[in-house]
């Protein structure tokens, strides 16, 4: 196989990887916040439920979660799914898994905000909603950003796990080419792609961190 055609195939795979990556972030970042709220809820059953959820998500292999999410509609509800469901299942599985990690990061951030900030907001008449979104969240984002960056970089690499559902993302494609050529060149090229992808992510996150560096 020509190097050029290999690169084209890998690029196509990369687009799928980026698709998984972007949609997972769009879903898991807000979902993590909701889970964090549940985890800190005053209502004990909700708190407990979220604790169990987080514990399962963190305590079992992501690869297994991908498989479970994909087969669940059939085994639990008897619904047979179309082949398009593969990519949806992958994004769903990644989202609920990453949301659990993000939730714990958010929780750490939220709990590190001094109680006085809430009290000052209360005295000034802000509603609970306003207090959270105007006073607390902006401070939390600044605090959690480095940890979030870590997770996002891990996600870039974790997208390769979707090969278990035969999604034609970059790693799946690279493995196929490597098998066909009986050479690991394609895998090494994929490695370089992941590295560049992550470098861009890291630079972007660094830029955001700098943007938020206007106060201590």
């Amino acid at each position: 196989m020509m190097l050029e055609s290999m690169l084209i195939q890998l690029c196509k795979g990369m687009l799928t990887s980026i698709e998984i990556f972007v949609f997972t972030l769009l879903l898991s970042l807000p979902l993590g916040l909701v889970i964090a709220w549940g985890r800190m809820s005053n209502i004990k059953p909700i708190r407990l439920l979220m604790k169990v959820y987080i514990s399962i998500m963190r305590g079992t292999p992501l690869m297994l979660q991908l498989i479970v999410v994909f087969f669940a509609p059939y085994y639990i509800f008897g619904i047979s799914t179309s082949s398009q469901f593969r990519i949806i299942a992958v994004i769903m599985a990644f989202s609920i898994n990453y949301a659990a990690y993000f939730a714990e990061i958010y929780r750490g951030g939220i709990e590190s905000i001094p109680k006085g900030q809430y009290e000052a907001a209360q005295i000034l008449g802000y509603s609970k909603f306003e207090t959270f979104f105007i006073i607390i969240l902006p401070q939390v984002i600044k605090i959690v950003l480095p940890s979030i960056t870590n997770e996002i970089i891990t996600l870039v690499k974790d997208t390769s796990l979707s090969f278990v559902l035969a999604i034609p993302e970059m790693f799946t494609v690279a493995k196929q080419i490597a098998a066909a050529q009986a050479s690991i060149t394609a895998l090494l090229v994929a490695g370089v792609f992941y590295y560049i992808f992550n470098m861009i992510v890291a630079l972007l996150m660094e830029a955001i961190e700098e943007e938020l560096d206007y106060y201590d």
Binding site: E119, A120, I123, L124, G125, Y126, Q139, D216
Partner: protein, 227 residues
């Protein structure tokens, strides 16, 4: 009718009774200083008065806006000085933006902070932070302003500038309730002094009456402070 009144207030934390039977009246324009040893219930009384804490018995009669100045300022670190002062009047009280800004600038000028408008709290000294937080409270046009040990987190030389600001407010007849450890300040600025110990009001009255009383707990307290 008094502007602010507390009747037979009771408050416990778990099994510990912190406020045992507190009653007090505040008239408009009055400055009340609450003094007493730590653990006497002063701060809890303030926190109940400002609804930061619930209470178990008695009642608080007040219909109006209140402000609170915290010991450790609690400014919003991600907002500039100007935004700290103006955001709540504009967003919460829905007041006219230009008017609020004008008032805020006047307050900053009054407190010698006119060049700090665009600074963030992290770039201010403790004394400046506390003056900003007083300005923030005043921007809400409160009917009564509470202070919870406003100088306890400050170095002595910074304490002076904050006390000067509070004194200025007293001269303007701002109604204030001040929990403080600054005995000289309480004596000079307070119209009415309340001495608390162990959840009770032990002594109250004009500064002369309270500071010259023969109550042994009062003597003991002042003695500890080296007076």
């Amino acid at each position: 009718m008094s502007l602010f009144e507390i009747k037979n207030l009771k408050k416990s934390f778990d099994d510990k009774e912190v406020l045992k039977d507190i009653s007090l009246k505040v008239e408009k324009g009055e400055v009340i200083c609450i003094i007493g040893p730590s653990g006497s219930g002063k701060s809890t009384l303030l926190r109940c008065s400002t609804n930061l804490e619930t209470y178990d018995g008695g009642e608080i009669i007040f219909d109006g806006t209140l402000g609170l100045v915290f010991q450790n300022f609690n400014l919003f670190p991600h907002h500039t000085v100007m935004k700290n002062i103006t955001h709540a009047p504009i967003k919460v009280q829905k007041r006219n933006k230009d008017e609020v800004y004008k008032e805020a600038r006047a307050l900053l000028k009054k407190f010698s902070l006119e060049d700090k408008e665009d600074s963030y709290p992290c770039n201010l000294s403790g004394g400046e932070k506390q003056r900003v937080s007083i300005a923030r409270a005043l921007a809400m046009n409160p009917d009564i302003l509470f202070f919870d040990e406003p100088t306890s987190a400050l170095d002595p030389e910074l304490t002076v500038e904050v006390l000067r600001v509070i004194r200025k407010l007293a001269e303007e007849k701002m109604t204030m309730i001040i929990v403080t450890h600054e005995m000289n300040f309480a004596r000079n600025v307070g119209d009415y002094i309340i001495f608390m110990d162990d959840g009770y009001i032990i002594e109250e009255g004009s500064p002369d009456e309270v500071f010259n009383s023969n109550n042994h707990r009062m003597d003991e307290f002042l003695g500890k402070l080296g007076e």
